[in-house]
Structures are given as C-alpha cells and as structure tokens.
Symmetry: C2
Subunit: 495 residues, 2 copies
C-alpha cells in the first residue's frame, strides 16, 4: 500500500471503532438490562482504548505529515488530511490511561445519573460527577490551550473559543431580553393548556413516527426508540433516534422526535463514499444542531406546517382536540414563558437556558465552582436569567444527561445551532420562494433536498464558519434569528 | 505490574473485546435496520481484528510461558493459564488478514441468509456460502491438525475429534433406530394437532417469559427479543435471549424460549469474579447445550412440569385448549415423527438431524462436496436418515443460520448436549429424589440450584469430559440418554 492508501485504511479503521463504540453506548442507554452496566463499561473502555491507540499511532502521524507535503492532493483529500491532523494532534496529547479511565467513569456516571434523576438524588450522583469533572479538567489540561474551556469547545465546534462565545452570547442576550419584555407585556397571550390533555403514548408514537418519515427520515436505515434523555446515534444507513413520551405533555415527543429526525437526516445525508473519512463526517455540533432545530422549530412550529398537520393530529387523538382551532393550537406550540426544562423551552427563552449552562461550565472548568456547589449555582443562575427557580434538582441541575457523560463545553453548540438554523432559513427562502405554500400542502421534500445538497453531503469539507459563509453569503450573526423571532411573535402576540 | 497482573490485564481485555463484538452482532441480528449491514460488518471486523491482535501479542505468549513455569499458582490460575495457552496457540496460527476477512464475510453472509431463506433462494445465498466455506477451510488449514474437521471442532468442544464423534454417533444411531422402529409400530399414537391451533403472539410471549423467569432466568440481568433464528448472547449480568413466535405452532416459542433460557442461566450462573478469565467462561458448547436441552426437554417436556403448567397455559389462551386434557397435551409435546426442521424435532429424531449435518460438514471440509452440491446432498441425507425429503431449500439446507455465520463443526455439540443432559439428569435425580414432586408443584429452584452449583459456577475449570466424570461419576456414554428416551416413550406409546 502507498502512503495514501495506508492513510485511508488507518483513518477508516479509527472511524469504524468509534462507530462501534457509539453502537455499544446506544445499546447501553436504550436496550441493556441495568445490571450489565459494569461489564459494558469495561467493554466500552476496551474499544475506546484501542481506538485511541490507533489514533495516536506514530505511523499515522508520519502519514499525515507525508500527505501534507504532497502537492498532488485534491480538495477532498486535503480536507481529510486537515481533519486527521486536528484529531491526531489532539489525541497524542491525551494519555491512554486518561482516555480509558474517563470512558469507564462516564459509563458508570451515566447509569448513576439515570438512577439519581427520578429520585431527585443529587448527593448520590455527586461522586460520579466529581470524577467526571476531575477527569475532564485533566483532559483540558492535557490538550493545553490557553484556557481549559477552549480545549473542550474545540472538540465540538472546531475553531470556536470561549471569548468569541462570550461576545456572541452577550450580543444575543442584550437583544433577546427586550423582545422577551415585549412578549411579557403583549396584548394577546396564547393558551398552552391544550397541550396538557391526555395523549396516549402509542398514538403519540404513531404520529411522531409519521411526521419523521414525512420529513424524510429513512426508517429502513434507522430506528426510533425510547430513552430517558432523547438522542441520536449512528450514521449513514444505521441512524438511531430516541424520544420520550409524556402522556400529559404532547410537545415532548412530538417536537423531540422531529428534532432528533433533523439530526438523523443529517447523518443519513452524508456522502456514502466519504462517511468514514475524516472530512466526510458531520461538520460540527453547531451545524448538527442547526439541522435538528430547523426541523423542530422553523418547520415544526410554523403555521404552514400545522395548516397541514393539525387535522391528522386531531384524527390521531379522537375526541381530544376536536374543540381546538388551528389558531389556538399554533399559538399553544409557540407559547413563550420562562420554564424549568431546557428541552421543553420555547424558541425565545431556549437560548437563555444555554447561556446559563455556559456560565456554569465556564466557572466549573476554571475552578471557580466545584461540583458540590452546582445545585446552588444552578438556582442562582435560573433566577438571574429566567426569573424562576426549580423546586428540586430533578428539574434543575439534574435535568440534562450531558455532564453525566462528560459533555462539558457542548451546550454552547445548541445556541449556535439556533443561530445557524435561522441564517440557513433565509437562504432556503431565497432558493424556494414558495416554501410556505409547499408546507401547507404537506410537502417537505424541498426542505430536505436543499439541506441535503447545501449542507449534509459536504460533511466537514469546510469548517462551520466557512460553510455558513458559502451557503448564506454572510458570516454567522444574531440578526437572522432575532428577525425570525420578532416576526413570528409580532403576529402571535400582537406586538 | 508483575507478570501475573499483566497476564490477567491482557486476557481480560481480550474477553472485553470479544463481549463487545458479541454485543455488536446481537444488535445486528435483533435491532439493526437492514441497510446498516455493510457498515456494521466493517465495525465488527475492526473490533475482531484488534481482539485478534491482542490475543496474538507476543508479550502474552511470553507471559503464558512465564506462568506455566511458575510453581506457585493455585488451581484456578493454572486452569486460566491452560486455557490461555489453548487460545493463544490457536490464534497465532491464524493470520490477521484471514480473521478480518472472515469476520466481514460472515456478517454479509448472515444478512444474505436472512434474505434468502424466506425467498427460498439458495442461489442468491450460494456466493456468500462459498466465500465462508473457503475461508473456513483456510482457517482449518492454518490451525493445521491432522484433518480439517478436528481443527474446527476443537474450538467448540476442546479435546473432541472427528474420529471419536464418528464412533459415539455410530453407537447412538444403531441403538436409536430400533427405538424409532418400535415407536413407528406402537399401539398408541399421541395427536399433536392441538399444538397447531391459533396462539396469539402476545400471549405466547407472556407465557414464555413467565416460564423462563420461573425457571430462574433473571430478567433484570437479561432480555428476551425476537430474531429469525433464536440464539443467546452475552454473559453474566447482561444475557440476551431471542425467540420466534409462530401463531400456528405453539412449541416453537415455548420450548425455544426455555431452551435459550437454559443457555442464559448458564451464563448468568458463571462466577462473577471469574467471568472475564480464560477458565471462568463456559466449559464447552456441548456442556452449554446440555443446559438448554435440560430445560427444554428434561424439564419442559416432562409430565411433572405440565402437571403444574398446563392450567396456566390454558388460562393464557382462553377458549383455545379448554377441550384438551393434560394427557393429550403431554402426548402432543412428546409426539415423535420424522420432520423437516431440526429446531422443532422431537427428542428422539433430533439427534438424526445432527448426524446428517455432521456427515455433510465432514464431506464439505474434506472437499468431497462443494457448497453448490449441498441442496442435493441435503435431500439425499434427509431421505437416508429420516425417510423424508424437503419440498424446498427453505425448509431444507437453508433452515439453519449456522453455516451462514461460519459455524462449521458446531452441530455435533448439539447431540453431545443431549448426551450430557441425560447423564446429568441421573446425577440430579440421585441428589434430589423428590424432583418429580417438586416440579408438580411448580418448584424449579432445586434444578437451577443444582446446575448452578455443579456446573455453571465452575466455568472451564475442567474440560467437558472431566466435568462429566466429576459430576456424574462416569465418562460420557449413550446409555443415560437411551434409557431416558426408552422409559418416556414406553409409557406414552405403550411399547
């Protein structure tokens, strides 16, 4: 094999091992009997350790260097070499011992979180969280950027820094708060109570499944299951969505499934010839989240979407929504109010949930707070950003799975996703001027096709910021999101 | 780390990787969307290749040699070193290329078999089978025993040879055929038609699940799912059973689940401190099968078992079996007749299904027949052994999953399982003289406890033949099985 072939053989094996690890983790969260946790944790650690050994193989380093010096590479290959370099440089800094220890800790910690949350038992979860935070700080130190937060952020949103986020988020906050004030004082207020009627699980599942398939998620290359915290796993022809059904709150499963289907369609839309290559995989988590938020909110919470789907929804739950008008329902799914749970938050307040987590993570990594201080800090931040405080940790600091599995520096990508999604919306509207009319007829094909062609299939050919510039003609900014929100809420709230 | 610690670290990592591979394969057969096959095949191959590299690590060879020379080891450790030596010597003979290629071929071939069987499409499956057979012959050549069959057999039933099997099976055949002749000419014949009434899938599942749990299978450390060919996967605290439901044939799921639960209880009963160690794992496939056949037949097809469970069964299917007496039902589940499908065969003819597969495999490995000749050879052998020929390949040569996944040399362990099970039964009856009365009260705890204590917890501390000698006081022989069958059928058939 020449260096070129040898390079691709090596990076594709790393990808296969990482997909294998993902599949083992999916199983652990969705299928595995609870008692299996310790033995599965050892299995995941074994695979992760070997993947890390392959990623840090000095021969791979030599091959990357050789290809960097090779002037004959095409654009796609250059992108692969660039991304392999990023991964290699990061990995060689992490000792194998730390990778294995963290993988094992994270598996146990996730199981502990799953037990602790329903019992509102932060104390029971704390020792696991302390271990995960300690090991995550060690990871950040090992990567060795100017500050710890940047080291973690770079894994999820390459090129982004804590300082840049602070600026973007500050700008967003200062312009979002006046909009929220206006909504608070609005002359009209939609009534969300219809969403709290009784919606049997099996019927929710049938409707969610239908909408995901209509949107374009390929169930012959994927699954939809149940887990405590919804997530998407897998890639290309094996993409697994999870959701959760609350019989007294329709939006959780409905918009949750559409959200995960957005992630899933991104993975299904990658280039089949390139999905195991370094630059053939998804661009960044911010771009990934732009796809889920696009389907959940920009499509799923639009008047045009419900013009078509409200009738099928009424028919899915006979007798439950017969007295509800389309206008009432549309208002209900766009009701704005400070609330405790991020994943159920409306489009306007959602970003504040992210901003407070960013603040907390920033303090946690800098050592300004320790894990045992998180419940108090959480309550203080909720009060500061949203004006409410959770009655318990279950709906407070324990609500998200992320920290339990070591995902620190990850939350900001959710707000970035909202910003990207709104900016992509403008470009899509320019390309498909009759979009609204299509959605009113239940035709979502043009949306999926545009996202496929402009975003999915390119994978990580360009970094997120460059992809945004190419697709929308402009760098990322808060105005498209603010404009979209102002327009929508002006009409609903009469402001 | 000293050599002792280093040895255990290495062999346990190999075990973890092998468990991880098993979990990925379970998912592939039970959960994965069909389109995911090629990418999952690459993942399984990546993990298998790394496991093989670890198993053939020269440092492991040095550690085994060092511990073999260490006079201070205890009995359990000596058994671990013995089993590690067996695995190491076998693995170093197999080139990494062959292991990876075979793992990938097997994954694709399994998927092809799953498609081909319902379509009765042997021609569509043939290219995959040819590849698997070619690679399996290569494996046998690489191991390099006197003949190819022994090389494969040794993986499933350490110490056993083709020549010994030919003798044992010859003996069994010559004494089984007169019994079958007597049954054919018997004055009484049970009527199996009651088993072909309509049994809704969901109720079958509830009853099968209940019986598996009553027998002692721990559902908090396991699962029960559906797959095309029932199997058991996993170990200790994460054991997955699968079954299949035929609404017009009750025994498939009922006895199939009890069979797999027997395998599952063996895995759940291993020593938790030793399950990742070379001699802490199950003894042999013959012993494994003795556990499944014990529960399926010796318990599950006994009069005492049905004295208790027939009433709950009637209640599970209201109106379906009300006109059926216990005697009629007991006769039906013990009806003896030559039939096409191995997994549904009665206890008397079952072994003939194995014997004909053993003949075919023997010819296949020696090159006396090629894969394209299998459908004809199958029909000829069915006629020779059972006096019937299948109308198509679906219920003929395509019926079993084994060859599609490269399990050649594996079928004989099923007949060995029957022989071991009957011999264990004699020892259990000596230890628990009131067994029948207990089963009539629905008490199966003593059976599971005896199997746990005498067989499960010992793992591979001794090889199968020695375990049999220790548990039953005698070497393996055909008489206990023949005596058990003669006694049972004498009463049912009046012979």
């Amino acid at each position: 094999m020449n260096p070129h072939e040898r390079f691709y053989e090596k990076v594709r094996t790393v990808a296969d091992l990482s997909f294998a690890q993902q599949a083992l983790e999916w199983d652990m969260q969705v299928m595995m009997p609870r008692k299996g946790t310790p033995q599965r944790a050892a299995q995941v650690a074994a695979v992760a350790t070997l993947a890390h050994a392959r990623m840090t193989d000095p021969e791979l380093g030599d091959l990357i260097a050789a290809l960097e010096a090779d002037g004959s590479l095409g654009e796609a290959e250059r992108a692969d070499v660039r991304e392999a370099r990023r991964g290699y440089d990061r990995s060689v800094k992490l000792p194998e011992r730390l990778v294995a220890e963290r993988a094992r800790a994270v598996a146990l910690s996730h199981a502990a979180w799953e037990e602790a949350r329903p019992k509102n038992d932060f104390a029971g979860f704390l020792p696991h969280l302390e271990t995960v935070v300690r090991l995550t700080r060690e990871v950040a130190e090992a990567v060795g950027t100017a500050n710890r937060y940047d080291a973690l952020l770079d894994e999820y949103e390459p090129g982004m820094t804590e300082a840049e986020l602070r600026e973007v988020f500050g700008d967003l906050k200062s312009r979002l708060l006046p909009l929220l004030d206006a909504i608070r004082g609005a002359p009209r207020r939609p009534d969300p109570s219809v969403l709290h009627r009784h919606f049997p699980k099996a019927r929710q599942e049938a409707f969610s499944r239908r909408v995901a398939v209509d949107a374009g998620f390929d169930m012959t290359a994927g699954r939809l299951d149940v887990s405590a915290h919804p997530f998407t796993s897998g890639t290309l022809h094996d993409v697994r969505l999870t959701t959760r059904y609350l019989e007294d709150f329709l939006p959780a499963a409905l918009f949750g499934t559409l959200h995960e289907a957005g992630h899933g369609m991104y993975e299904q839309g990658l280039d089949p010839a390139r999905f195991r290559d370094p630059a053939g995989q998804a661009c960044s988590l911010g771009i990934h989240e732009s796809q889920s938020r696009f389907w959940e909110n920009i499509v799923g919470r639009s008047r045009a979407f419900w013009s078509f789907y409200f009738k099928p929804l009424q028919e899915t739950f006979p007798g439950t929504l017969d007295d509800v008008s389309l206008e009432t329902f549309y208002g209900a799914v766009n009701h704005v109010a400070p609330s405790l749970i991020r994943v159920e938050a409306d489009e306007a307040t959602y970003n504040l949930h992210i901003l407070l987590r960013f603040d907390i993570e920033s303090d946690l990594l800098a050592g300004r707070v320790e894990p045992r201080g998180l419940p108090d800090l959480w309550r203080a931040k909720m009060c500061e950003y949203l004006g409410i405080t959770p009655p318990d940790d279950r709906d407070g600091v324990l609500q998200d799975v992320h920290w339990s599995v070591g995902l620190i520096g990850y939350f900001p990508t959710y707000a970035l996703g909202n910003l990207y999604a709104a900016q992509f919306r403008q470009a899509l509207l320019a390309a498909v001027p009759d979009l609204e009319a299509r959605l009113e007829r239940g035709e979502m094909g043009a949306v999926k096709e545009w996202l496929n062609r402009n975003i999915h299939v390119h994978g990580r050919r360009w970094l997120a910021q460059e992809l945004c510039q190419r697709v929308t003609g402009r760098p990322l900014g808060p105005e498209p999101l603010l404009g979209y929100l102002r327009e929508k809420y002006a009409e609903i709230y009469g402001i």
